[in-house]
Amino acid sequence: MSSTTNSPTHHTSTIGAIGAPSRRNTELALLVFAVAIPVFAYANVGLAIDGQVPAGLLSYGLGLGLLAGVAHLVVRKFAPYADPLLLPLATLLNGLGLVCIWRLDQSKLLQQIHVAGGKATNQLIYTAMGIALFVAVLIFLKDHRTLQRYTYISMVAALFLLLLPLVPGLGADVYGAKIWISIGSFTIQPGEFAKIVLAVFFAGYLMVKRDALALASRRFMGMYLPRGRDLGPILVVWAISILILVFETDLGTSLLFFGMFVIMLYVATERTSWIVFGLLMSVAGAIGVASFEPHIKVRVQAWLDPMREYTLSRTPGVPGIHSDQLQQALWAFGSGGTLGTGWGQGHSELIRFAANSDFILATFGEELGLAGVMAILLIYGLIVERGVRTALAARDPFGKLLAIGLSGAFALQVFVVAGGVMGLIPLTGMTMPFLAYGGSSVIANWALIGVLIRISDTARRPAPAPAANPDAEMTQVVRPS
């Protein structure tokens, strides 16, 4: 690209980032770093708990390194201009998650209640499956625009996935939230996959309809008010998300689903009024449902007063299910302080259920402290930033909307889970992407990163050189020496 920029026939002052080099070597260097950090953490856990470097260090490091290496080579081959940060950031989070799960496996208490024990090996297998799906996405999805053909199929597929947990005999009620299905001994969280498929549908749909949604509006108090009939789509999505909230009793999935639509609607139409409507509708919906749905009510009560739940859970003979989890998580964050207790030296086993899945952030909070959690949240933020940047750079509206939708969903999920565990919003049944134990989450999020990398490759690929360039090369006159 560089040698062609001094074309004599164009003045080339507008050349932007398009000519950026592929940055694959940057990615490789960061990837090595991203594998080294979890290996360091792994050794640290072993030293802290047993006083010796754990026996599995080499195999663990090699396993993670191999997976990252395969992913990198595939990116190099099939998406050479992709964003250099997405893969290392996701690898680092996944590696830290593995270490933390392994660290919780060492806890005797958690082993007794079958929350932990051998989970790290499972998670490594899930990671391998996730990377396999990532590789498959990159190899078979040559151009993200082909997804546009499947707009309405995606809608059906997403609804199917969202409704699966409600099918009698298939759906599994895990601690109150019905967002799981169980096939044999496996449990799958279809909502994780639904978010990708839904993003495809929303992107395809909004790309076609955005003009109608953006232009036909009246101005009122500085806001563009949409016409009544244009409110249709947002109302339908809102209704479905409320139905999810009522029947699957999961605030997280509902919030993710609706929030993603509102974000994409805003990006597609550039109308702030959609955000105002969206916020009002989601607040109204959440308050409405929380007032009569018992499971949500419990969650809201636990959020408003975790200490009361804690006391009730310790008092024998109190009716209803009370959990001290949230209070324990808050204490974990508190006891971590600024710099944390260090790997393997906290007491996150006190959280008991879901210590390595929904509540894994509390372990990070306790053992790495504020500094560690901030770094992790920043890494999530960077992934989202790269997604948004990809959307900005993408040249086709479908790619823009899809990238925004996926990164918006990712950001919402992180917000919903981190907010839940930290007591900012009521707790939900979702898991921290990449960190938490759980096959569906890891696999689906690797696929999400795969799609983002595919879009970013298309977006950052240098535009095909204009035909005049070979001539321009010829007329570059030799300078007199």
Binding site: S13, G16, F33, L47, A48, L339, A371, L382, R479, P480
Partner: protein, 176 residues
């Protein structure tokens, strides 16, 4: 394991984690600004955004001859020019920042500097950086010619700092 070792590892881990974040942000920085920007202060070179690293290493090799030429110009010492200033003619006072782009001069509307000058051709001349970062002026076959100092240009010629380039009634020069 001693308390000290664990404390060192704990702090070390946080440091390494943050180092990763900082490195990642550094990678983003290059993306945010779009293109590579050469540090003028350290390298004493004009900003040359489109150049890739390979060419910049060649650029580093270039300064000695450039300095010689500028020394011959005798006005601005060692620094490379950063702007082009119109000193005579209807556009007097106009400046164009030199950022590695080719600057075209002429009466044509798509020129970088559109000359409102009857003696200028529609595509009169262009000024571009060569691979070493030296700014070159080339006459594009104009009717009345382009003059550097007093001599009419026949070949693309490096421009010394402050030397007047005359096109019709217009004079321009490169400044630091």
């Amino acid at each position: 394991m001693s308390e000290l070792t664990l404390t060192v590892m704990r702090l070390g881990f946080l440091a390494v984690l943050w180092l990763f974040v900082i490195v990642a942000v550094q990678v983003i920085r290059s993306d945010l600004f779009g293109t590579r920007v050469t540090q003028r202060g350290s390298r004493r070179e004009a900003a040359r955004p489109q150049q890739t690293g390979r060419q910049q290493t060649r650029q580093q090799a270039a300064p000695p001859p450039q300095r010689g030429q500028q020394g011959g110009g005798g006005r601005r010492g060692r620094n490379a020019p950063t702007k082009l200033v119109v000193t005579e003619g209807t556009l007097t006072g106009t400046t164009v920042a030199l950022q590695g782009q080719t600057i075209t001069l002429g009466r044509a509307h798509d020129s970088t500097i559109v000359l409102d000058d009857d003696y200028a051709s529609s595509r009169h001349a262009r000024i571009y950086p060569d691979r070493d970062g030296q700014w070159i002026i080339e006459d594009l076959g104009s009717t009345n010619g382009t003059y550097l100092d007093r001599s009419r240009l026949t070949t693309p010629t490096p421009i010394p700092l402050g030397a007047p380039i005359r096109i019709g009634k217009t004079a321009i020069e490169l400044r630091k």
